[in-house]
Amino acid sequence: MGVVASSKAITVTVNGVEYEREVEARKLLIHFIRDDLDLTGSHIGCDTGNCGACSVIVDGGLLKSCMLLAVQADGATIETVEGLSEDGTLTPLQQAFSDHHALQCGYCTPGMLMSATALLRANPSPSEAEIKKALQGNICRCTGYWNIFEAVKAVAR
């Protein structure tokens, strides 16, 4: 329980797959996902928790995995961009991103998709204002966001 330790064995389920690993207490969840689990779809764009490129869904809630320790995710169910589509078929949201040219370099896209996914689950028919508010935590330096708003609108019911 409350044992004080500098490393810990944790079990997490990522995109339906269960992983058990020993991790240092200091390891950020994003480093665990990218370096230990080799799920490199989630990215790192800053070191201050601003950019959202590392956004993942943990136990149903959208979080930035650079502001969570891996040990804190022990027992959690995590969804990353790799888990969105099944057998390579794009989800309607992924397809809309492509149709509306909502990505250029694609570096922010995985985090952006996770934020939009979380939004649409909670609110299937968001207004433009609600879309902007929901994507406020994800920085994109290529698109100026306009096409991203269009893509999300396109799948909003």
Binding site: T40, C51, Q94, F97, H101, Q104, T109, I131, N147
Partner: protein
Amino acid sequence: MSGSTTIAPDPVEILAPQKQWSGQSIPRKEDKRLTQGEGVFVDDVKRHGMGYLHFVRSPYGHAHITSIDVSKAEEIKGVYGTLTGEEVASLTDPFFQLATPPGAHLKDYALAVGKVRYVGEPVVAVVAETRDLARDASELVEVEYEPLEALVDARRALDDATPVLHDDAGSNLMWEGVYEWGDLDAAFAEADRIVKIKELHFHRFNSTPLECDGALVEYNRGTGQWTIHTNNQFPGFAAIMMGPAMRTGLDKLRFVTQDIGGGFGNKITSHPQLVACCLLARKLNRPVQWTEWRTDFHLSMSHGNERWFHDTEVAVKSDGTLLGFRTKALDDAGAWLRYEPLGGVIWAQVTPGMYKWRNIRLEFTQVATNKAPCSPNRGYSRMQHLWFTERMIDIVAHELELDPVDVRKRNYVKAEDMPYETPNGCVYDSGDYAQMLDLALELIGWEGIDERKNEARSRGKIVGVGIGSTLDSGTNNFGQSRLINPELQFSGNNEVATVKLDIFGEIVVTLGTTPQGQGHETTAAQVVADILGCPVDDVHVRAGHDSYWNSHAGFSGTYASQFAVTGLSAVKGATDMLAEQIKRLGSVILGGVPVEALELAEGTVRIKDNPEAALPFMACGAIINANNAGLPEDLDVTLNCRYVYRPPFEVPDVERKFGNLTLTYAAQIHAAVVEIDPETGHYEIVDYAAVDDCGLRIHPQIVEGQVMGATAQALGAAMHESFEYDGDGNLLTPNFYDYHVPHALDMPPLRTGYIESASPFTPLGTKGMGEGGGAGIHAVCAAVQDAMRGHGDAIVYDSWNPYARVWELLNKPEHARALVEVVSS
């Protein structure tokens, strides 16, 4: 153009493709992997036994390094080794300098040697088993410094009392040159009014690509060759910087890239860090991985050029006709010349802006300061100059109470003047600026702007509207480097593509470029499919860049708005060759039908009058690659074609500083409406319009995407983003805490428009584009200044106008007013 000594290229015949694929916004080939998190970015590349590199960086803006002790770091278990400046200085030669003296004397190495010159400068590199351990160990490296006074204000750089950064140069002056064309005295004599502007300042920022720099470097002891997996966006340049410094041939430096998380020019000058990785990969005999984090990037990588314009004088007729201007540009290059002083001439691609004035004098001085080195940033050097040009236009209009629209239309280069030779010999290929402006004004609702201002006033707000017109000169003539240093043996430009028809009929395309989101795989496929008459899905364009393929040349890369010209013209050239070979093979197999009687359609080569007689590409590929017995000996067909596109350039006249510096001159005109809260200076952009003309568009959606993205970057730079330093040389905006880039909620409503004036000088009628966003900075500055009319009448004198400055402009306009003066003559 008669009587002019133009060196304009001969117009080429535009072979308009069937327009089957080109001109359509087809789905991007890149998107499937990128939307599924299956792209491969540099930090995704891993190798067995790789060590992680962490740089120990300077905490001082300017200091002597008195001692370095790495022993404590190297003692730690799991630390593989270190690299110091002294080692670098013994193992490598200083990077080649583009400048003439004094800049030429700089001794620039991969790590600081003896002295540090900016906060964040790499001093020691530590490599360890894990990322964390590398950083832990770097904290145990003991570096003793003897702090020196830092130079942060370029305006003090040449004062006697100011410390000199580079003893080798003996001065903080890096490069200077005088550019003069036309007859200044005549112009000023003819002027009715002379508008004098004491000082204007273009601030320091960059595009902060979301992915920072990085590399994974492997050294092959057997072949002595380095494989450099990196997101450097101009491997051709990195190679010519690194090879001589590392005392190795360029073929020993293999650059590999797949996906790059944004570049915007900021990823051109990572060669010092790459050299450190190479030396350590060899020293430690293991792969070395380096990832730059956000704060490292802000501290040390590729700041955009900060520039001052002093003692500007504009000669104007009372009707607003512009006759000429003179100014003194002072450019702050930061601590090293990593790509500079090219910024000292790049601006000259757009010397008169979009205007017809012919009498221009610009004294350019570039100095070193204790700040991060400057390198290309989207709009590189032209943005600074075009901002200055637009400032002159709007300040003249403001002071002479003229309509900024009228002043622009009166002075714009007109459609009928195209191609237009500028006073310095650049040839604007095509365009209709006035028509673009009309479109922008319509989109922004210029007509109803007065009602809008009144309505805002009733809410206690002030509305201002402004125009920003800008050029996006693309496809460099590297000969312009000789205006900086006549000894340099660079000129022209080139790009390469290969197209082959493989054994099972696959069409495989390789590019020399390093795209960062511009969709090259898609647009290249469109061009190929149009020529070969096959579905775009049948064209496989290899992702990324590998200098071991034969598809790269000295200027290969993705920078300076050129793919639509250099990249796609190379693709077109190679595909035309392949098409011709397929027909020659077809004429043999189809029984000696003349090549003229054949056409390529539906993935076959067939007889025009008898489409039934068709040979599928698959058969062509099989015959040449696997079933070629009995083919005529003289049939010279490989179905594997490489083409190098070489734009038509002359070496500029160094004496007159005269010549065509880029091949195409795309244009953008933006208009912005700002609404200011006078009590706080807080303001918002409440409406925005951007109109683009980049000639024929292969993929309109991608073009519009570039316009949008560059616009967003400009709005961020105009309002919030600035690399600000304190007096000791500490960067006060070293990450996204204080360096605020636009977020979703910051984006204004946007309307976009376009016209297409085909370039007469490019094989596809295209123009390079992507860097025209600077117009956003010009437009916001103009709009803020417009809002000041009747509220103190301040002029906008800085390109960075955060709320605090806008509040000052409104409440203490005296400073701004004192900067401008109108003299009647």
